[in-house]
């Protein structure tokens, strides 16, 4: 199945949500992934606030600092149009709204016609249901980009995805599970707690079956 990310010819700006920055920070090859994508990648300043070192739980500033210094990532602010969407996405009932970083990411994507890179399934649902139909993708879509596969190589890519799964507990949608399992191998799937238990136990069973006799 083609990743939702599409071909590199589209060159849409990518707007990364907090969840995605955390995954890229954990994978250990975040800057290489961004460089391979060869397109404009931005983070809205609301997301930066969630990663700020003074923020009680923020600890991904090193990745951000490197990415920014190498001009792989830019910090942007919402304009008037974006702020209007931001307000609609944050002020209202819980089920219909998002937290600030997520809302700002989607709002910016609408404002400039970019693609919101966001893993949260509620945020994805809101994108699907939004009248402006903002485009969206996930962290896995970044990893699956042909340029990333080419520039990192499958071994390094497998290691990056494995780290994102184990360190950051990256979310993986059902449609991407098969690709993930094939990439990192059934032996390592058991160590990825964010993957469905059914997948982990099935892969564990297969892994045991493949053990040489007497092992």
């Amino acid at each position: 199945m083609m990743p939702r990310f599409g071909s590199s010819k589209s060159k849409a700006t990518l707007v990364l949500d907090t969840s995605v920055v955390i995954n890229l920070s954990a994978c250990g090859s975040g800057p290489r992934v961004l460089a391979a994508l060869d397109r404009e990648v931005v983070v809205v300043n609301h997301v930066l606030n969630e990663l700020h070192p003074d923020h009680p739980k923020g600890h991904h500033t090193e990745f951000m600092a490197v990415a920014i210094s190498r001009k792989l990532l830019e910090i942007v602010a919402l304009g008037e149009v974006g702020l209007s969407h931001f307000e609609n996405l944050t002020v209202g009932s819980g089920p219909d709204t998002l937290d600030d970083g997520e809302a700002a990411t989607v709002a910016y994507a609408i404002q400039v016609g970019a693609k919101a890179v966001i893993d949260d399934r509620k945020a994805i649902r809101i994108c699907r249901e939004h009248p402006c139909r903002p485009r969206f993708a996930s962290t896995i879509d970044l990893f699956r980009h042909p340029n990333v596969e080419r520039d990192l190589g499958m071994a390094a890519l497998g290691e990056a995805v494995f780290r994102a799964l184990t360190i950051a507990r990256m979310r993986v949608l059902h449609n991407d599970l098969e690709w993930v399992v094939k990439l990192i191998g059934t032996d390592r799937i058991a160590h990825c707690p964010s993957l469905p238990a059914a997948v982990r136990s099935k892969c564990c069973g297969e892994s045991e079956k493949n053990q040489p006799a007497g092992a």
Binding site: T18, V91, G92, E102, V199
Partner: protein
């Protein structure tokens, strides 16, 4: 008017100004700002902030964003319609010194977690059942006698009889409907207690402490729930034991966790045939009752089952070591020996509610992280539990071929 287009009302326009103002006031006070301080920090006239908080003027988005950032919260957290805006911190004001940032932060955390739980219940349509015991205000006379009496009465009320209570924290949560939270706190803080008519009884314990100390703190707060329910309470290292309330709580805790008849019976069983009282006996007894070795020995001294000074003797002669414990209890280490993953510890109920709200798509990861005051990865570790067959996708499970 012909040719003009009415400006569409935004969500902030539609929001009740008084409600918005009240939320902002609570958030400002929770963050420790005066009106003058907050308005100066965000470049807003003090009179404007006053008008906003009083509901006389609607807040604009740019102002809201600046205030949210100053108060260390988010626009969504402030303005989400189901968000609960009750602040427990002012109740602790008399107990917390003006410079005690650690205690202040703990009181704020208790308030935030209780509000989070109430909001999650509302979203999920769950009613929180209280089953609080009868109140027993302190009377004139010997408070320790009252405490022993009230502890035994509560045991009877709960149907515990004389048997040990292996898990006081679950008892508080499940039987009494007390909201119990565990988070890493400053080491000198053992616990906090507060009661609110909307939030109910709320307790915060220090997840950095070993289990037996948490048990002791939990039952201490239970004592306050029984005797001084309407007053908030802080249990810290520098707490004075001389006040009637503290003497009551200490005695209540001892009587509740180690009721006399139960201790006497167990002591008889464990030491049967032994001419000496040994470390082995201490280890088994304290494991049975879920209390520390020192608490167990001192209780035995108090009940005159062993000589006064026995604990002092143990301390002077090498104490009771982890190796001693392992020898006696083997692989079944007492919970106090286990390494507590303080970074991810949270009580079952709050974790379960968060899990349900996320799986039902009611709140996003960002909203839950802000609500529960957790980092994203910590939150994900909670959401990964009880994942079941549904996995993390929208669709039915895909069985890989």
């Amino acid at each position: 008017m012909i040719g003009s287009v009415a400006k569409m009302k935004t969500p902030l326009d539609l929001m009740n100004a008084e409600e918005a103002g009240e939320r902002l006031r609570i958030a400002r006070e929770a963050a420790g700002f005066t009106q003058a301080g907050a308005s100066a920090a965000v470049n807003l006239a003090r009179t404007t902030l006053v008008a906003i908080e009083q509901g006389l003027r609607k807040i604009r988005l740019d102002e809201l964003q600046r205030l949210a950032q100053l108060y260390g919260t988010s626009v969504n957290s402030l303005m989400r319609s189901e968000a609960v805006h009750v602040d427990l911190v002012p109740r602790f004001r008399k107990l917390i010194g003006t410079n005690d940032m650690a205690l202040r932060a703990a009181a704020q955390l208790l308030s935030d977690l209780a509000r989070a739980e109430v909001e999650l219940e509302g979203l999920l349509g769950i009613q929180h059942d209280h089953n609080l015991p009868p109140e027993r205000p302190l009377l004139a006379g010997d408070v320790q006698v009252q405490a022993e009496q009230d502890a035994m009465e509560l045991r009877q009320w709960l149907g515990l009889g004389n048997r040990p209570v292996p898990d006081i924290i679950s008892l508080l949560e499940m039987e009494l409907g007390v909201r119990v939270y565990m988070r890493p706190l400053d080491s000198r803080i053992s616990g906090l207690f507060a009661f609110d008519s909307r939030l109910g009884a709320c307790i915060l314990l220090n997840s950095n402490h070993p289990q037996v100390r948490k048990n002791q703190s939990a039952v201490h707060e239970l004592a306050h729930l029984v005797s001084t329910r309407q007053a908030p309470e802080v249990l810290a290292d520098d707490a004075t034991e001389k006040s009637p309330q503290e003497r009551y709580a200490k005695t209540f805790g001892r009587a509740f966790l180690t009721p006399p008849r139960s201790v006497m019976q167990k002591f008889k069983e464990i030491t049967a045939g032994s001419p000496l009282f040994t470390r082995r006996h201490v280890i088994i007894l304290s494991h049975s009752f879920g209390v520390s070795h020192e608490a167990m020995v001192r209780r035995l001294e108090e009940l005159k089952l062993i000589k006064t000074g026995t604990w002092d003797w143990f301390e002077a002669n090498g104490g009771i070591t982890k190796s001693d414990v392992r020898q006696v209890l083997g692989d079944v280490l007492p919970i106090e020996q286990k390494v507590v993953d303080a970074a991810t510890s949270t009580t079952l109920r709050l974790a379960t509610l968060a899990n349900h709200a996320w799986r039902q798509g009611l709140l996003s990861e960002g909203q839950l992280a802000a609500l529960l005051k957790l980092g994203r990865i910590e939150l994900r570790s909670i959401l990964d539990v009880d994942e079941g067959e549904g996995g993390v996708a929208d669709d039915a499970p895909v069985w890989l071929k």
